[in-house]
């Protein structure tokens, strides 16, 4: 029961600060779940993959996937409710006359500051997942042993198979309209071949 309440409140808190889409939740969720020893970074990355492969809002999917990982179906329900109840309440309050709030200069000024912050946080999410998944600056326990690792003495710098995949995926996303779900499925096959 404590776990379920904990999940509910973690995701309630997350949802109220997840401006700018689900990915901004990744570093916050990671901190909270690791502090409680509920999930590892690799587990979190795999759940992000599942959340992205599924249709629907990434943030909500992430809550369901992580909740399930921590405490099964009941955990998924708790995290899901935590994710949607507070924001739905905010929405309904705002919807009552929402354009006034949006066009308020004070709100506009706040968002002028929040948006670049969100950009920085999302970049940090990618950076810290890269470290924790052994793509860059790997520790001995996160090292990808089937990869091409470049180390300086014992200090790990970079793993090239992962970087190759990441670069190709970024180009696909930027230059084509291939949907992320298809890219993830294809990378699963590539992973089986390359590793």
């Amino acid at each position: 029961m404590t776990i379920l309440l904990g999940l509910f409140f973690i995701f309630a808190k997350l949802s109220l600060f997840s401006f700018g889409g689900g990915y901004v939740m990744v570093p916050i969720a990671m901190g909270e779940l690791e502090a409680n020893h509920w999930a590892t970074a690799a587990g979190l990355t795999d759940t992000v993959a599942i959340a992205t492969m599924s249709p629907g809002p990434v943030g909500v999917n992430l809550a369901i996937g992580l909740g399930f990982k921590v405490a099964g179906i009941a955990g998924a329900v708790a995290a899901f409710l935590g994710m949607i109840l507070p924001t739905t309440a905010v929405l309904i309050l705002v919807a009552v006359c929402f354009f006034k709030v949006y066009q308020n200069p004070v709100v506009a000024a706040m968002f002028y500051g929040i948006r670049p912050v969100v950009t920085g946080i999302i970049l940090y999410a990618a950076f810290s997942l890269a470290v924790k998944n052994g793509v860059i600056l790997a520790e001995p326990n996160t090292m990808i042993h089937a990869g091409y690792n470049l180390s300086f003495n014992t200090f790990h710098l970079i793993e090239f198979k992962s970087v190759l995949i990441a670069t190709a995926v970024f180009m696909l996303l930027a230059k084509t309209k291939v949907v992320p779900a298809a890219i993830i499925a294809a990378c699963g096959v590539i992973g089986i071949i390359m590793f």
């Binding site: 670049p116 912050v117 995926v169």
Partner: protein
């Protein structure tokens, strides 16, 4: 300026609510790739197909959806539902757009848990993890291309990133600091260049 107060008085018929539910169930089933990917689909269904919302209204709705906390696609769905049929319309669109992802994420999570010890599944995830990294970098790139428009916002973004990497600052704290920075810096910026894109 559009205000949607008037919709409070509309008594939506059950068939309208059902239609909203089904429309957003459909949108929820095909909206791969997060909220931004859902936006053109929502626009097609509610503006082009059903004429529930005017095109200029949907642009404002999407801007508000992106400004509120929570999932953008879900916020947009709820606001559109509210616009069509008040609170009950908002609930119909929220429940409709969430049913498919809930079922699919749960199914995939159960499958993953069952098969995660297989070597092939583990190798597949070695390929998938860097792809997820790029998805996140790309999300930052898209966010940055609309939010970083001048030197000040670039500095704010770099400081946000740096304070997490170096000082391990909590993201929620940085968001709050960012809001105050915006409040403090916006007048400076408006005085410099009048155009203030929201």
């Amino acid at each position: 300026m559009v205000c949607v107060n008037s919709t409070d008085k509309i008594q939506p018929t059950n068939s309208l609510l059902l239609k909203i539910y089904i429309t957003f169930f459909k949108l929820g089933s095909i909206s791969f790739g997060g909220g931004y990917a859902m936006i053109p689909l929502i626009e097609h269904e509610v503006v082009v197909q059903n004429h529930w919302v005017k095109r200029e209204e949907i642009i404002d709705i999407l801007a508000v959806a992106g400004s509120l906390p929570g999932a953008i696609g879900l916020n947009a769905s709820a606001l559109v539902g509210y616009k069509i049929a008040g609170i009950r319309g908002a609930l119909a669109s929220i429940i409709g757009s969430l049913c498919p992802p809930v079922m699919i994420v749960l199914a995939l999570s159960v499958l993953f848990e069952k098969f995660s010890s297989y070597k092939a599944v583990q190798d597949a995830f070695y390929g998938i993890r860097p792809a997820v990294l790029s998805l996140i970098v790309f999300a930052a790139y898209k966010m940055g291309s609309t939010s970083i428009k001048d030197g000040i916002s670039l500095i704010i973004a770099i400081m946000a990133f740096g304070s997490m990497v170096i000082f391990d600052m909590h993201p929620i704290l940085i968001i709050i600091v960012g809001a105050f920075a915006g409040l403090g810096l916006m007048p400076v910026k408006s005085a410099g260049s009048r155009k203030d894109g929201v």
